[in-house]
Amino acid sequence: MSLRDDLKAYLDQELPESRMGELRIALESDSELQKEAQYLTLISQTLRSEATEPEVVGLEAALLRTRSSKKGFFTDFAKRPFLATAVCVLFVAIISAVVYPTFAKAKNTAKSPIIADQAKAMSPAYSGASSVPMMEGAKSDSGSRFADSRSMDMQIERGNSHGLQSAPLSGVPSSAELRNYAHLKDQNRMVVSRGDMTIKVDNAQNAQVQGQGLVVGLGGYIESSNSSMLEGETPIATATYRIPSSVFELALDKLRKLGTVLTENIQADDATLEYTDVAARLKVLRAEEDQYLTMLRGARRTGEIMSIRDRLSNLRQQIESMDAQRRTLKDQAALSTITVTYQQKVAAGEPDVEKGWADETWGSAINGLSTIGRFLARMVIFIFVFAPIWIPVAIVVWYLNKKKG
């Protein structure tokens, strides 16, 4: 660097001592350098003399503002509109994501007692064979030959281990509520009741034996049973019971107590109309038979006798068939069917299925990740949907801050 480049710094005494010395020596001998130094000094002096010394104002206001800023976490926060808006939006989104499902659930729960009440109001009298009420307009989806009858499907799915008294699905009365209708027995109705249950028990075979004992004690019998105790699989036993319809509900209750009900499906088909129809047709056929018998007693010619006998034979076949239908209907209405699957509990420390723990852990981890993903997606949706609310607020806050600034 040349001496001239450091001349200003020399005059300001901002150079290291060695450099100061160099310049001092140079100045003593160089008149041009001295002249230059004089110019720079003059400019510096002029600047200082011509500079203003502004009058100081606003000290009190500054002190006041400094004092108020101490309590000002929120004030300070409010001064950052973007941060404030982002926090508000996040707060709204979290509250909505948490509160909304609760509201929706409460709303659905509030509906089901109303629907259950409506079901009660709509239901006509009960059958004498079971305590299951009928619902107007309900359709049977069974594959039985009673598909034309009016029937009510009652699907009660149990997913927990807390027994049977949990709330029914929307629109379906619970078993407890149904038992309350027992006093409305109508002896004239023919109802075919069917129940399917899966029960988790300590020992499948023992439970099956107990179930058999219960059913026999109630006057029923075992229609079929089987069990599976294969290695590596959960022991299962299944049995189909025929129970007098009058004790159908009682049998269900007793069977439920054998273990923890996992699933339960109760179906009741009203066969009254069909039975009545069959009975009426049978009556007509019998009356026709009597007429033919009267005609036969009065017949004199062989041809006439043979013709009447043929017709009588056909008629009696129809009567037999119709009577068989009537007896079957009556038998089915008299004896309800309950199919129970006894699923054995897995002992502590033993996996349900060999090598299942890794899959279970993997499944749990994936479920956890998808839950987080769903939650984040839900928040994004809420932020988007609530945009008409938070965007104007953000704009107002931004505008006010800009205006204030």
């Binding site: 480049d5 001349l7 502004p54 606003g58």
Partner: protein, 158 residues
Amino acid sequence: MEELVREHYSLVYRFCARRLGFDLAKDVAQDTFLTASRCLRKFKEEGSFTSWLLGIAHNTCRNEVRKKKAQYMDESFWLNATSPNPEASVIDREALRRALDQLPIEQKEAIIMHEIEGLSYAEAAEVAGVPEGTIKSRLHHGFLKLRLILFAETEVTR
């Protein structure tokens, strides 16, 4: 913090006034102290508090200029409107104003900080956020230009 405000307010206010004028200086000075109070924990005690505070003021002034597109470091903010002693002055005030107008902002700023506000090269470098050598260079080139403009004019006038 109040003590610091009382002690340094005039320095900061004048610093801001020279850069932005009297209208904006009050608000900017207040903002400077608010920022300083928030960031007090970040101040490393081995440095100069004044330089640190003026550094905040410098940045606040720059932000204000950007936000409001205000004039920055106009000569009317820091040069007297009338010369206190025109006869004794070798350099004409108007000539000085014209010469200063031709300087880049960075050189003008270095001149104000050192010549008028009395900051050393090191302090000015800390305030401006540049190395000390840069301040030295800016001052050298600024004065060189002023000398060439002013004394060439003077010589021409004479």
